[in-house]
């Protein structure tokens, strides 16, 4: 009798052959062709790997079973991710997606994105999101024609940059976080904090070093590359979706802490007046919600740490060749900043101006 894994490996090999055939024969618009080729290469690697496992003379040895099972699982995940992600998006690639992918390409060029441009499809049910391993950015259907959320594209692109350069970009930030909390813990011990309070401090450090620093860094990058427009976009998102702006989740820091961090970067890349305007509106929003800062908030999100990290992040981005926003030099980022200015001055007439701008962009890209 064959080992349980062997037929499963054959099943997976068949699935890879199917994916290979689908992607090979797929006709996509020029904007998506390089992505199609990259995904095809990934599928080919997966297909070859599964074939090599099937041909491995040690496949039936019990001491190897678990390792081949691990290989099988990673390849299953690859096949599923391709199927549900880029293959799904490419097989339904519409005019809106072509347009958004062109916008993403222009954005990438403006700040010198160091990798191949992902494709962007307007088919998300999860707001803006990035599938970093699949070169795919998803946005909700309506975003193709609405400018005010586009600054979030920069946040999503930052996920690609950070995932691919952890040592150069995230590690120095993590070191600063580690050093800060080490000192805070030492001070707490000296001052006789309770062990429970010290445990909480350690828990914040763990959260910072995990997902939080990634989200903060993505926010800093988006602000670095688009200026105040990302701060406005974040404020709108918080107003729309926050349930508790001071609430903390494992995967995301509190919205209020993120707003503070974004303002920290705004102060480094935009004029003080712009930062002041966002800050005033943010405080108005807090007053409207009736949210007040909980006692632990400054322990979890120390102001000095956030300020230092924002400054270091800016230096790291620049040192890696990424270009900061400066008014008048980046057409898409300029457009987003202008959109927010116009929207705030005359929200009732904004929509007509926005439609004209989207139409003009499509013309510039020769899509109409």
């Amino acid at each position: 009798m064959t080992h349980v894994l062997e037929p499963l490996l054959h099943d997976l090999a068949e699935r890879f052959r199917f994916l290979d055939e689908e992607i090979s024969k797929m006709q996509v618009p020029p904007e998506a062709e390089s992505c199609r080729q990259r995904i095809h290469r990934l599928v080919t690697i997966g297909k070859n790997r599964i074939d090599s496992v099937l041909a491995d003379p040690d496949i039936r040895r019990p001491e190897f079973a678990k390792n081949f099972y691990h290989t099988y699982k990673r390849l299953c995940e690859l096949a599923q991710a391709v199927d549900e992600g880029p293959l799904f998006a490419l097989s339904r690639f519409r005019e809106e997606d072509r347009f958004l992918t062109r916008v993403l390409g222009a954005v990438c060029q403006e700040f010198s994105f160091p990798y191949a441009v992902p494709i962007c499809a307007a088919m998300s049910s999860q707001y803006y999101c990035a599938m970093t391993g699949m070169d795919l950015v998803l946005v909700p259907h309506g975003e193709a024609t609405h400018l005010l959320g586009w600054a979030d594209l920069y946040h999503e692109l930052a996920h690609f940059i950070l995932a691919r350069n952890q040592l150069g970009l995230l590690q120095p930030l993590r070191k600063r976080v580690g050093d800060h909390f080490q000192k805070a813990t030492d001070d707490a011990v000296r001052q006789g904090w309770t062990s429970r309070a010290i445990d909480e401090l350690n828990a914040y450090r763990t959260l910072w070093l995990g997902d939080w620093i990634i989200e903060f860094a993505c926010d800093w990058f988006a602000t670095f590359a688009t200026g105040a427009s990302f701060a406005w976009s974040n404020l709108r998102l918080c107003a729309r979706m926050s349930t508790d702006v001071f609430g903390t989740a494992r995967s995301h820091p509190a919205d209020a802490a993120r707003a503070q961090a974004i303002l920290g970067m705004v102060s480094l890349v935009a004029t003080p007046e712009e930062g002041q305007k966002v800050d005033t509106q943010w405080r108005e929003l807090l007053g409207t919600i009736g949210a007040s800062e909980p006692q632990y908030f400054r322990i979890a999100y120390p102001e000095s740490l956030i300020r230092e990290l924002a400054a270091e992040a800016k230096q790291l981005f620049e040192a890696s060749g990424l270009q900061p926003y400066s008014r008048g030099s980046k057409p898409i980022a300029d457009l987003l900043n202008e959109a927010w200015e116009r929207f705030r001055i005359d929200p009732a007439r904004f929509s007509s101006w926005e439609n004209d701008q989207v139409r003009q962009l499509k013309k510039n890209f020769k899509l109409i």
Partner: protein, 136 residues
């Protein structure tokens, strides 16, 4: 912005680590079985670096040093599993780093056992994150 991006980032890191560890273990096991050359000196050093980073992160929840940062969920799995005997596990990791760092010392069963265990944790983490991306 959505949790998917954070999970995607996390999945990529844990899946890559799981794959690297698994490939290294397969190479070691095959070299022992077939009496052939196993990991190169550079591959041993990289693996030693990974195990050393794990040790650093496990020890008092450290991290944020100059070494590679391993997925937190994987570290927590190992931490949970070894909580009652953490000092022994840290010793095992130290020995693994030391043996991997010396190309002349052969990799024995206990070293493979430690690597297998780390690989299992990386695999479980990758699978768990992958599922979370789809069953939220």
């Amino acid at each position: 912005m959505s949790e998917i991006s954070a999970l995607s980032h996390e999945y990529e890191a844990s899946a890559r680590l799981a794959e690297e560890l698994n490939e290294a273990i397969l190479t070691i096991k095959k070299s022992r079985l077939h009496q052939r050359i196993g990991l190169t000196e550079d591959q041993r050093k990289i693996l030693a670096g990974t195990v050393g980073a794990l040790r650093q992160q496990l020890e008092a929840g450290q991290g944020g040093g100059q070494s590679e940062f391993l997925p937190q969920e994987m570290v927590e799995r190992l931490s949970e599993r070894h909580r009652p005997r953490m000092a022994y596990f840290l010793d095992d990791l130290s020995r693994t780093v030391s043996v991997l760092g010396n190309d002349l010392v052969p990799l024995d069963d206990s070293i493979i056992g430690v690597l297998d265990e780390i690989c299992d944790a990386a695999d479980e983490t990758a699978s768990a994150v992958f599922r979370r991306m789809r069953r939220r």
